[in-house]
Symmetry: C2
Subunit: 196 residues, 2 copies
DNA sequence: CGTCGATACGGACCCAGGGTCCGGATTCTA
DNA sequence: TAGAATCCGGACCCTGGGTCCGTATCGACG
């Protein structure tokens, strides 16, 4: 219930300020967990009360940031051209979807990290995960000969988890393009198997 | 450096007591994060100081518990009979390894969960992950026609992440055997692809 | 068996950080 | 422009991980 927006001018201005400041902070700081709520409030020039009233709790703020960043991709997936859009043939669309997720996580490492570990609630009860999963699953179901599409969707998405991506990009020093190629290759292999 | 064991009788006794108590607590409580260090100390009949001296920090305690539980599997993998042991043919061993990991996580849900989210440090910098990964990778490399074995090993292991397993077993109500079958099927598909 | 140095014990204590509260300021409505 | 509704913000609370240090215990040695 702490989610409904206010129409009061100062409220929306502050909400905006917080979003902007938080975005900047997460981008600048090394690890997402050393950007504290007090930091965000201070950076936004706002009191903690305001911050929490606007977003409920830390997870709420993260979700809001995440949703904003995700918006363009959501658009591209829902109404865009192939291979991301709904008119693409399933075998092309699956790798494209995974690639989009991967790129998103590469571009928003800290944020995705912060949201996925989140201290307590797993990413699997987040609604945005649910969306990706059911979409991917639906696409997989259109590919003949594939079984266990629900599980397969989970397993494929698991390969794009933020901390794995972070690990590979960070300690592993794997460049972006290589990682994309590997994921695409992996997805292809999963889809490829005809009768073995 | 807070890791070297003591030989003093009371010290080992207390260490044992803590391990036992913690094990019981994690098994009993719903979520791993509402078993606090103070709880563990109290349940073990020991002061917090003792607890922290013996294990360094929370992660240290988790690691110790984990290692104890993992020991039999490690044995089976390193010196046991096929299909888990080193003499098994790679195409059989990969699914077997994954199955072993999955079963372990099913049998130790809370513990694995606690260790993998761990608040801060990702599971990917844990040494036990490193071990599974390099083993799996080595086995994959023995399979002709497979490329990107490093990444593939990561991706396969990602399908056994504790929170995913928890999600599937919990909200998804997927029975153990079905999950094992799905994972095996998935692994098989990944390995199956000849020239596409 | 008594003494003594080394080691461990344990709970009071510290601190960070998420989240709450409420008196006062601001904004909308009439 | 009065009054009500809403919002502001920072002082405050609380939980939980981690530390400290005076005291109790251990075990080696005489």
């Amino acid at each position: 219930m702490p989610e409904r927006q206010s129409s009061r001018k100062d409220a929306v201005r502050n909400r905006e300020a917080v979003l902007t400041a938080a975005d900047a902070l997460f981008a600048r700081r090394e690890s997402p967990e050393d950007v504290t709520m007090a930091d965000v409030a201070a950076a936004a020039g706002v009191g903690k009360g305001t911050l929490f009233r606007a977003f409920g709790d830390r997870a709420g703020l993260l979700r809001a940031l995440y949703a904003a960043r995700l918006e363009p991709i959501r658009q591209a997936v829902e109404t865009g051209p192939p291979p991301l859009g709904p008119t693409a043939p399933p075998r092309d669309r699956v790798p494209a979807l995974l690639d989009a997720v991967l790129c998103f996580k590469l571009d928003n490492r800290r944020l995705a990290l912060a949201l996925e570990e989140g201290g307590g609630n797993s990413p699997y009860q987040a609604e945005h995960y649910e969306r990706w999963h059911s979409l991917l699953r639906a696409v997989l179901e259109q590919i003949p000969g594939l079984t266990d599409c629900d599980f397969t969707a989970h397993a494929l998405l698991a390969a794009t988890r933020a901390d794995l991506v972070e690990h590979l990009a960070g300690e592993g020093h794997i460049p972006r393009e290589r990682m994309r190629a590997q994921l695409a290759n992996f997805a292809t292999r999963v889809l490829a198997s005809g009768p073995l």
